[in-house]
């Protein structure tokens, strides 16, 4: 844009430029006002209420405005810490499995011919744009006791008794990977697509083998995609409700389920739901901050 003043102009021009800049600033405020207003009122303020509610005492349907630390004491008790542990374990497992399956798939698509690339991408996008609850439901039909998988396995003589996969932790992990896999593949694809494969050939010409070239060149250059994909899988996986609710068992409850029950089931316990939510938020914030520091550190090291 050449609306900015050039060097060596008179003072009058400078004040004019300043006025123009402040006018542009004002215009920016006006244009962003709706978003700013909306996000403050419906994103920021609700969290303040969550903080307030976490220090109150529960009532059967509502809250009593009496100060209490009971919710936090309970949230940090061994019983609920084990719920956190379960949810983190599930999220980590899902992320690793998505990465292991997603990387070869993204690599394969990125190295395909330009015409086939788009077709292959569409095959990844279709499940991604299909309704979440339908994708989960389809697994219930597939895995159920009288479901298709058991039918096929029994009629082919591989097993004599139906497998009980539905309502197990295995089913939860399976469906989690199924649902979140596209979130891993798409960012990985977008870095791999831009990857300069001649670097790989150069490394191998200089005597590196494929494995070494992969770990020394491909992987570091894909770091951003791996990072983005892992976050896109890990963060929603931490708060998953629908998948464990529909295909998991009711013995091992995950965090999303516990929080939802505290709000939806009677007697309600809103302070408890608030305290659990804020604890989760704290863990996520620590994680993100750690990753941010690591990212800055890596970036600084690469510059040297």
């Amino acid at each position: 844009m050449n609306r900015y003043p050039k060097h060596g102009q008179s003072e009058q021009d400078n004040t004019l430029a300043l006025k123009a800049a402040s006018r542009r600033n004002l215009a920016s405020w006006a244009l962003s006002a709706p978003a700013l207003f909306w996000l403050i009122v419906f994103f920021l303020v609700p969290y303040i209420i969550v903080v307030i509610y976490s220090f109150l005492t529960p009532d059967i349907y509502d809250v009593n405005f009496e100060f209490s630390l009971a919710a936090y004491r309970q949230a940090l008790s061994p019983q609920y810490l084990s719920t956190f542990f379960l949810s983190f374990r599930l999220a980590i497992l899902t992320t690793i499995l998505c990465l292991l399956l997603g990387f070869p798939v993204a690599y394969f698509i990125a190295r395909a011919k330009d015409k086939t690339k788009n077709t292959l991408l569409i095959f990844i996008i279709i499940p991604f744009w299909t309704n979440l609850i339908i994708r989960i439901f389809s697994w219930r039909i597939f895995l159920a006791y009288n479901g298709v998988l058991n039918d096929v396995l029994i009629s082919s003589g591989l097993i004599s008794q139906p497998l009980e996969i539905m309502r197990t932790d295995l089913a939860v992990v399976l469906v989690m990977v199924y649902v979140y896999l596209p979130y891993m593949i798409l960012p990985l694809y977008s870095v791999l697509e831009k990857l300069d494969f001649t670097l790989l050939h150069a490394a191998m010409d200089l005597g590196a083998n494929e494995i070494k070239a992969f770990f020394r060149i491909t992987l570091p250059l894909c770091a951003e995609g791996i990072f983005a994909g892992s976050l896109l899988v890990f963060i929603p996986a931490l708060g998953a409700y629908l998948i464990p609710q529909l295909v998991g068992n009711q013995k091992s409850l995950y965090l999303g389920q516990v929080i939802t029950y505290k709000i939806k089931n009677i007697p309600r316990n809103w302070p408890m739901a608030s305290a659990l939510s804020l604890t989760l938020l704290f863990f996520v914030a620590v994680l993100l901050f750690g990753l941010f520091i690591l990212y800055k550190h890596q970036k600084a090291r690469r510059k040297v």
């Binding site: 962003s32 419906f42 292959l120 339908i134 439901f137 529909l246 939510s277």
Partner: protein
């Protein structure tokens, strides 16, 4: 020669994993579609072909209501969040904007927080302010989670924007309003369409935030489906799901233009 064979091994491995992942991604969906024509009331083996669950689907008033609720919420939240997205993206074009950092934080933070927390916080807001939950609260919630996406998608389009066209129009003496409507907006259009499609899909797809912000009597399709699965009367869910998958296929595959925009917006 040896290197070549290793290379082939890796390509073969990638192809194998790709094929397995395709099977993994599509088997449940294909089975669901086939079983929507199965003449059985519960999940069981193949009992013969029928279309009766599609007819039942048509006759079911609560499904029709849930469908129109879903479309109403998706349509309105897409429109409002896209308009806000366009305005905000234009406002943030100015890098010297003094509210740039704060606004960026407000836009990006909701994306890196588990969505269940937005549901909880909005449920508490509506409880605290004693607002009756229903259509309006669901609409507010959907707009809130769509805004981040629309702003980011439209902004990313503006980043690679060719300002020489705007300058050319200015040099030719076009008025600012004319430049905006005739030059800038048409150039932004692919980004706006991509943002709107994303918002629409997110809105139709959402379960958890709607679950926390809808009261009794206002069901969207995902809420209705979940309730039906919980009660165990799933006969019409297969046929409903098949129709919804058909809708997705129509959007992604048949409409070539939309497909192009989707791929370029990745």
């Amino acid at each position: 020669m040896k290197k070549l064979s290793i290379s082939r091994f890796y390509t073969g491995m990638n192809l194998t994993i790709f094929s397995l992942v395709m099977v993994f991604l599509y088997i449940p969906i294909i089975i669901l579609i086939i079983y929507s024509f199965n003449d059985a009331k519960i999940i069981t083996g193949w009992k013969g072909f029928t279309l009766k669950y599609y007819i039942q689907l048509w006759d079911n008033d609560s499904i029709r209501q849930a469908f129109s609720n879903t479309m109403l919420i998706a349509g309105l939240s897409t429109f409002i969040s896209t308009v806000i997205g366009v305005l905000t993206a234009l406002g943030m074009e100015n890098k010297q904007f003094s509210g740039h950092k704060a606004l960026s934080a407000l836009i990006y933070i909701p994306l890196v927080i588990p969505d269940i927390l937005m549901g909880v916080s909005l449920a508490l807001l509506f409880n605290f302010t004693r607002v009756n939950t229903g259509m309006i609260t669901v609409l507010i919630a959907h707009i809130t989670f769509c805004i981040s996406y629309t702003v980011i998608v439209i902004r990313s389009r503006l980043e690679g924007f060719d300002y020489s066209l705007v300058e050319a129009a200015m040099d030719l003496g076009a008025k600012p309003a004319v430049i905006f409507w005739k030059v800038k907006l048409p150039l932004m259009l692919p980004g706006i369409i991509a943002a709107a499609l994303l918002a629409f899909t997110l809105s139709i797809d959402d379960f958890i935030i709607t679950f926390f912000t809808s009261g009794r009597g206002f069901d969207t399709l995902p809420i209705y489906v979940e309730g039906t699965i919980r009660r165990g009367t799933i006969t019409t869910i297969n046929s409903l799901s098949t129709l919804m998958i058909g809708f997705t296929l129509f959007l992604v595959v048949v409409t070539k233009r939309i497909r192009k925009i989707l791929i370029s917006s990745l």
